[in-house]
Symmetry: D2
Subunit: 144 residues, 4 copies
């Protein structure tokens, strides 16, 4: 059984690349953060900027395991595909693949936790976010 | 038996932090890259900028597994401690811990490979680099 | 008389913002670089990645004058509007405005020069680029 | 009559450089921010992280005029020299030069204003900061 996939295609820009002419690996994680952001807002229907900025719910990363298979060059188009592996009481486990035109670029597993940004302590996933995550996780096939 | 440790203390700056006031996780990897850079130049005696820029030997990351235990705040001092786990024919496996004044912030394992930057293919670790890595790896105790 | 305007709307992301919750000013220039990139590729019909990466023509900034009028917050949409002020033999002068929903955010003037990336010396603007720039500069009204 | 100069030397890292092998210009402004940060904390004796994070006094840039004279390459050492041009009621005007071993790299003028980070409105420079700025501005010769 598969869950819904959130997919986003991004151009590899000059600013992402290093003196070797390929994406500097931390830039993938900056892009990943944008994908998670848009998945929340567009996929889950939970406004990410509002969640962080107004509701003061943080989503720090507690674990990141990433394997890189091929470099991405300036001018490439790369596609991130995000899937939910598991929704816990206070954590979300994601599987993300990044693909180029010619094959995979990287595969990663990221665990996010929900925190209170006023106290910097972990908190339960808020109910509306949990409902949206469960709806997403139980959906099958690609997102609209 | 322990190997030599390369240690570097870095101030957490405004530019490293996110709207939550803590280090944005990709920034740790930008800092890590600087630690590896200085370890090459100062620890191994292999000028990193020359290796990449003139000798056209790349050091892309093929694997990165990182677990975060506590956030770092603007104004903190954090210390990276780098150890070599394994030196292969074409790869270097590092274990890195990042510590704050009050305890660990993250622990990671990074695998780098040596590549030709003109061909973007993996190559054997150059002899002088291999010798320096083996000397480092077989040394015990902290670096001078 | 007006010249053509290249316009691009960009979401203000978590990664653009600082502990004050607003865009960290250097991030505007990273975004600006992406706008120039897309203007070259989509507006002028000169593939930017190919120009830099294969033809080894650099476009460093020699002058940047920027006035900021209001902060941009995470979740905002901001629109960059780029116009050509002047095309020289070896330089391009741009006027760029960045606008939020509620009014202007910044106004800047950037001078780029063409360089050889193999010699890091200034060179004349290549003919095809010059033709495209002149066509753009002499066009009136917004780009399609 | 000269005022005190705050000087900081920084290695040009892999992460600062672009596919052309030279510092990507927005990275100079990230470095500049670190220089201003250390000038506040070490030069003026006003803890920058505390000012922003606890006292909620912001220091956004309202004007930045920068002229670049030569590129900086990975492995270079560059020195920022910061001088105060003017201290206003709500603004600080800085003149900053960045020098490489072989001559100037850039020259800039930056105007910062003090704001309330809870209201995002400009405020008068707090008294202790103003006193420290005036002491600095009226000092002659290089800082210790």
């Amino acid at each position: 059984m598969t869950t819904a996939i959130f997919s986003q295609t991004i151009p590899v820009r000059f600013s992402h690349c290093d003196p070797a002419g390929i994406v500097f690996f931390p830039q993938y994680f900056v892009l990943l953060n944008g994908v998670v952001e848009d998945w929340f807002t567009e996929g889950l229907g939970i406004n990410y900027a509002h969640l962080i900025g107004q509701r003061l719910v943080g989503l720090p990363t507690v674990s990141l395991h990433c394997d890189f298979s091929a470099p991405s060059f300036m001018g490439d188009s790369i596609t991130f595909q995000l899937q939910v592996e598991r929704v816990g009481k206070r954590s979300i486990t994601l599987n993300v693949e990044c693909l180029g035109a010619d094959g995979p670029r990287l595969k990663l597993r990221q665990v996010l936790v929900t925190t209170s940004l006023s106290k910097h302590q972990s908190i339960d996933i808020p109910n509306d976010v949990l409902d949206a995550l469960n709806r997403w996780h139980n959906a099958t096939g690609a997102a609209p």
